[in-house]
């Protein structure tokens, strides 16, 4: 098997963004996932979000671990450097890359197998360090490439394709992220592009670690009756707690629709995220309340979706490490090497 490039035919009527690029310029090679896979819808949402945010594709680093979801970075932004790393180890690669060059946009794509079992430690610690990146956790409750074993996000009582029931409690990335002090926690559904695109945009704009947990049904191994991560089950039990709209800084003047009783949160670069609570009194800037609400819905068998929590003024890795504003990769050698004089002076004390 080799990868297949998409034909580069371009329709003259295609819409262009501020960089003069069309949405096609944000695509990658042909997907090799199963037809109907939730992950492909997420890829489409990513393409749309980057296009609409006018981000130059080559100023993006796209990273992943191992698994079905981790294959998807080849399917978007073909002009971005990509890194398909090791199972569960993408967060450390992203952390080091970001430490070296904080001026690129970072998107990491992972799955529930990759992030919640073998990579649970790295996932947690990237959140603690508040690495400035969008972290897409494409969550389907099963291991697809190894043919259908339960993952750590499988719900109690959910049925595998062959009928066995999962007995162990699931790890819920969203509530775990809230307890770990994550600065941006969202959840969505691969089948809801209208909700997903603004969440991706807000996550990319957020300075810090932005987790988007996306229920993304596996059509081959986990879309049957009795599964709690199927299309049907997610559509029925998905519960949007907030409606989110992302308003980029440059577009603000053009957006003048009625927002009703909405709350606005200004991001570090001046762009705005607007919320409209669907659930009465839900406040996505209150971590404890967000957690409590999430748990309440979970107990009712419902999956809270939307931008669950945001702390727009959080300090990212570079702020915590007090690094210079210019990317470390661009600091000239002369500024890094202290020279012979300093060496002699240092050694005069080593006697």
């Amino acid at each position: 098997m080799t990868q297949t490039a998409k034909p580069s035919v371009r329709h003259p009527g295609l819409k262009t963004n501020k960089l003069g690029l069309t949405q096609r310029d944000y695509e990658g090679t042909q997907s090799t996932l199963c037809a109907g896979c939730g992950h492909d819808s997420i890829t489409a949402a990513i393409v749309q979000a980057f296009f609409e945010l006018n981000i130059a594709p080559h100023r993006v680093a796209k990273l992943s671990g191992i698994g079905c979801s981790s294959k998807t970075p080849t399917y978007f932004l073909s002009e971005a450097h990509g890194f398909n790393s090791l199972h569960g180890r993408m967060p450390s690669i992203a952390t080091g890359a970001n430490a070296a060059n904080g001026n690129l946009a970072y998107i990491g794509v992972s799955g529930d197998g990759d992030s919640l079992s073998i990579g649970l430690g790295q996932f947690c610690h990237a959140m603690r360090r508040n690495v400035n990146m969008l972290y897409m956790l494409e969550n389907n409750g099963v291991y697809g490439l190894t043919k259908g074993q339960f993952s750590a996000s499988a719900d109690v009582g959910t049925k595998a394709k062959r009928g066995e029931e999962n007995q162990m409690p699931p790890i819920d990335p969203a509530s775990m992220a809230l307890t770990l002090g994550a600065s941006f926690v969202a959840r969505s559904f691969s089948g809801d592009r209208k909700q997903l695109v603004p969440l991706i945009k807000a996550g990319l704009t957020h300075r810090g670690f932005a987790l988007v947990d996306i229920i993304s049904p596996c059509v081959t191994f986990n879309d049957h009756e009795g599964s709690t991560k199927s299309y049907a089950h997610t559509r029925e039990h998905g519960h949007e707690v907030v409606e989110t709209d992302f308003v980029p800084l440059l577009h603000e003047i053009q957006v003048e629709q009625d927002h009703g009783a909405s709350t606005a949160v200004t991001m570090h670069d001046g762009s705005v995220v607007r919320f409209r609570s669907v659930d009465e009194h839900y406040d996505p800037t209150d971590r404890d309340a967000a957690y409590a609400h999430l748990k309440k819905l979970q107990a009712q068998g419902e999956v809270a979706t939307g931008l669950l929590f945001i702390e727009p003024t959080s300090r990212d890795l570079h702020a915590l490490e007090n690094t210079v504003d210019e990317p470390l990769v661009e600091v000239p050698f002369e500024k890094l090497c202290p020279g012979s004089g300093v060496l002699a002076e240092l050694q005069s004390h080593w006697r």
Partner: protein, 607 residues
């Protein structure tokens, strides 16, 4: 040689037995530093437990006017400050030599030996009388024995006092109490034991161009000078002080003067898996990045090291070796990681290794490692050990050429990329096995996918056997081509020697001393110290040109010998081993004995 007949001035060993966590380490270091300042060749070896407080610890100082500074078991003065180890410490002293002990409490009758000189000083009593508080009394007792040893060995008191003045220039009360403690020990010993020891120190001028430093300090400084900006690590003995030093140097030397912000980023990772991952992420992005670790950490890094090798990402790894396997003896030295680093990770791999023999080389090899890693686009290991990494060594002063330009290897700029028809990440265009690389964010034409899964020379995913093999064969050529770019081996040839001693790393001093000792008995031996892997042609030539090559190293399985067997044309029968893997720095006595055994000579008593 008869130890009683030879001149013992500037030729002796002092061993100090104390309790871990009582502050004796800095007192012992002071003693060694004073000897260094008197211009005499000296070494200090810290033998310490994996413990914070309470277990026994030793410090061995060897003074040798000829510059032989390997560890020596021939203790002339035992400073026995730990009653729990009195028995073994006193047993170690040779007939006619001396034990200094704290006579505040009587020594048990059966510990006394008729053939050893017992020098009792009521150190604890003196400290109780002169200092307040339990902690101060314990600390000052250490300083008091420093004073006593100074008197016994004729160490210049002014040198010690000058050191205290430098150290405590801002803390007058500490300077006063330290000076008093020195005096207490010094005066007592002078009054009661003057001239009793048959060893003494006399000022020389051997250290004019030398400094005292540890290998970890020197390696950290090498990282600063090489322009490393990202360091990721997980704490592990004996590598921890490397990152501690890097942090210390950076705090002084890598602050932007205008903003006060850092021109570096140090990340303490959640484990070694993440530490090496961060290094690879930073290296992929174009930063010079490194991680210090030891054997146990390397085991965890294996998975990522295979990725770095196959995806061709530069990285520098410092392996400060300790005694394994498993947790082993984490505070004891060994050279047991050669197999692990040479072929780290599953599948076919082979890595570039540098073996510094002392702290000076840690500095230069660290700088070299970053150049090699970027030139070759692969992980490069600087393989030292606990003895080099953590002990203070008298070293040649470091030099820096301000005209130095780092070798970034084949990194394409935006202009380079724009001029190309098409960029292919893994295409070898000039036949040296090294393709060009592009860095993220530079130009859309440089974009490619980095992956540990099968890829072809164009950087595309593949499961086609021929396309896969094409790439891994080229990587093998690339690594083989590195051999002559590594620091050349150290070779010392005698006249017509048919036997060579081959060694590596911190064993250097003991082996060179052994060659001199054996020469005194008429045995002529050549010397080869391996400094890099893959082995250069000079290594193979040396091995082939000798009838027998005795490989001296600190591990059970003769790992260097076996690597030589695998990687050079030398016949197996031309190789033999002398091994010492008990966890202590190597002594010449072990080498002399081992060589004699190998050559079928009559064993003689060591020393």
């Amino acid at each position: 040689m008869d130890q009683n007949s030879r001149d013992r001035t500037n030729d002796f060993v002092v061993k100090i037995a104390t309790v871990n966590g009582t502050g004796s380490a800095s007192a012992n270091g002071m003693l060694m530093q004073a000897m260094f300042r008197m211009g005499v060749p000296v070494s200090g070896k810290n033998v310490f437990p994996s413990n914070i407080q309470g277990l026994p610890t030793w410090y061995e100082i060897r003074v040798n006017k000829h510059g032989h500074l390997a560890r020596s078991p021939n203790v002339d003065l035992m400073v026995a400050m730990n009653p729990k180890t009195y028995e073994q410490d006193i047993a170690e002293v040779r007939p006619g030599d001396a034990v200094l002990f704290d006579s505040s409490w009587p020594l048990e009758e059966d510990l006394f030996r008729a053939d050893v000189l017992f020098l009792g000083i009521p150190l604890s009593h003196m400290c109780v009388e002169n200092f307040k508080g339990a902690r101060a009394r314990i600390l000052m007792k250490n300083i008091a024995y420093v004073g006593a040893v100074a008197a016994l060995l004729s160490i210049d008191l002014e040198v010690l006092e000058e050191m205290l003045e430098e150290k405590f220039s801002a803390k007058q009360h500490l300077m006063d109490s330290n000076k008093l403690a020195i005096r207490l020990g010094y005066d007592y010993a002078k009054e009661h034991f003057d001239g009793l020891l048959r060893v003494r120190i006399e000022a020389m001028d051997a250290n004019r161009d030398s400094v005292l430093m540890t290998g970890n300090m020197a390696a950290a400084l090498g990282c600063v000078y090489a322009g490393a900006t990202v360091g990721a690590w997980y704490p592990i003995t004996p590598a921890t002080s490397l990152m501690d030093s890097f942090r210390g140097f950076c705090a002084d030397l890598r602050r932007d003067p205008e903003t006060g912000k850092n021109l570096y980023c140090i990340i303490q990772a959640e484990d070694e898996l993440a530490a090496i991952g961060m290094v690879l992420g930073a290296g992929w992005m174009g930063a010079r990045a490194f991680t210090p670790t030891s054997g146990a950490g390397l085991s965890l890094m294996n998975e990522f090291l295979g990725l770095a090798y196959y995806a061709e990402i530069p990285a520098v790894i410092f392996d400060v070796q300790r005694a394994g396997p498993s947790t082993g003896m984490p505070t004891r030295t060994q050279q047991g990681d050669f197999f692990t680093v040479a072929f780290a990770s599953h599948g076919d791999t082979k890595h570039v290794l540098l073996f510094p023999g002392d702290p000076t080389e840690c500095f230069y090899f660290a700088v070299k490692a970053f150049d090699l890693a970027e030139r070759l686009q692969t992980p490069v290991f600087v393989v030292s050990d606990l003895d080099i990494g953590m002990n203070d060594w008298v070293c040649e002063k470091l030099e820096w050429d301000d005209a130095f330009v780092p070798d970034r290897g084949k990194v394409l700029s935006a202009e380079d990329l724009q001029e190309m028809d098409q960029f292919y990440r893994y295409l070898d265009v000039d036949g040296d096995g090294i393709p060009a690389r592009s860095l993220p964010g530079v130009d859309p034409k440089g974009a490619y996918f980095t992956r540990g899964s099968g890829h072809d020379r164009f950087g595309r995913y593949t499961e086609d056997g021929d396309l896969y093999q094409d790439v891994v064969d080229r990587i093998a050529r690339k690594i083989e081509g590195a051999a002559e770019a590594l620091p050349p081996p150290e070779v010392r040839l005698a006249n017509d020697a048919t036997v060579g001693l081959v060694t590596v790393g911190s064993c250097r001093g003991a082996v060179l001393e052994a060659i001199e000792l054996l020469a005194e008995d008429g045995m002529v031996l050549d010397f080869l110290r391996v400094t890099g892997f893959p082995f250069s042609a000079a290594v193979e030539e040396f091995l082939l040109s000798h009838d027998l090559n005795i490989v001296v190293e600190q591990n059970r399985d003769g790992q260097l010998k076996r690597l030589l067997m695998l990687e050079t044309a030398v016949p197996k029968k031309k190789l033999a081993s002398v091994l010492d893997y008990r966890g202590s720095p190597l002594g010449a006595d072990v080498v002399v004995q081992g060589v004699r055994n190998q050559l079928g000579l009559v064993a003689v008593e060591a020393g």
